[in-house]
């Protein structure tokens, strides 16, 4: 039953329920299939053969198989692999109010630092040394 050119339906796997054609017979219960499913080897136990036999060359390419299946009403979709794009980096969106608050705080800190420096120089004025006081104590 399972010869080259036999139409089958896949029973198991993620592409169960899809139709395919046998392209080559491999050793020990394995078979190469192609069609609406992916081009790969498959176990005989996972295939259900139909009544149709189609003339096909051994090891036919994917394009030849698409040509043969078209008049039967089975359209094979060819998909290209997607180009992987770099994910856009997430930039933190800081709210305006938060930004302004932060800037205000920085200004306040700067002001306070300046005031402190000025106040330090005012608190400690240089006292003039009184020579008279010192001389009196030394006499005694």
């Amino acid at each position: 039953m399972l010869e080259i050119g036999r139409l089958c339906v896949k029973i198991a796997g993620r592409d169960a329920g899809q139709k395919c054609i046998i392209v080559d017979v491999l050793e020990k219960n394995y078979v190469l299939i192609d069609g609406l499913t992916r081009r790969r080897k498959c176990n005989i136990a996972h295939l259900e053969p139909l009544n149709e036999l189609i003339k096909i060359k051994k090891n036919a390419s994917h394009e030849e198989v698409t040509k043969i299946l078209k008049p039967l009403g089975l359209e094979v979709k060819t998909t290209k692999p997607k180009k992987s794009s770099i994910r856009p980096k997430k930039t933190k969106v800081v709210k305006k109010s938060v930004k302004e608050k932060a800037e205000k705080e920085v200004k306040k800190v700067k002001k306070s630092v300046k005031e402190k420096e000025l106040s330090k120089t005012e608190d400690k004025p240089k006292e003039p040394i009184n020579d008279s006081k010192i001389s009196k104590t030394s006499d005694k």
Partner: protein, 87 residues
């Protein structure tokens, strides 16, 4: 904290956990049952037991197997149904 009186019936799971200097009592809601095949009643594989919040966060592919009737029928019943649908 749960509303008073709700923990009297044993519908909430009681869990004791150790915190630094003492053990505390927490109440948890239960998980749903293991999913079953709608035809034969066998337990389904590949379907985790998740509660509502963790199911919402988990991606779709981790909640069921990637094949037709995945999450509804077991693999045996799925093969039988596809054979019937051919004819």
């Amino acid at each position: 904290m749960l509303r008073p009186g709700k923990t009297k019936s044993r519908s909430f799971r009681r869990v004791f956990t150790r915190v630094i200097s003492k053990t505390k009592l927490f109440y948890q809601k239960g998980k749903p049952q293991q999913a079953k095949c709608s035809e034969c009643g066998a337990k389904l594989k590949g379907v985790p037991r998740l509660n509502a919040t963790s199911a919402r966060k988990a991606p779709k592919t981790t909640k069921r197997p990637e094949r037709p009737y995945g999450g509804e029928l077991c693999s045996k019943c799925m093969r039988i149904r596809i054979k019937e649908n051919i004819k």
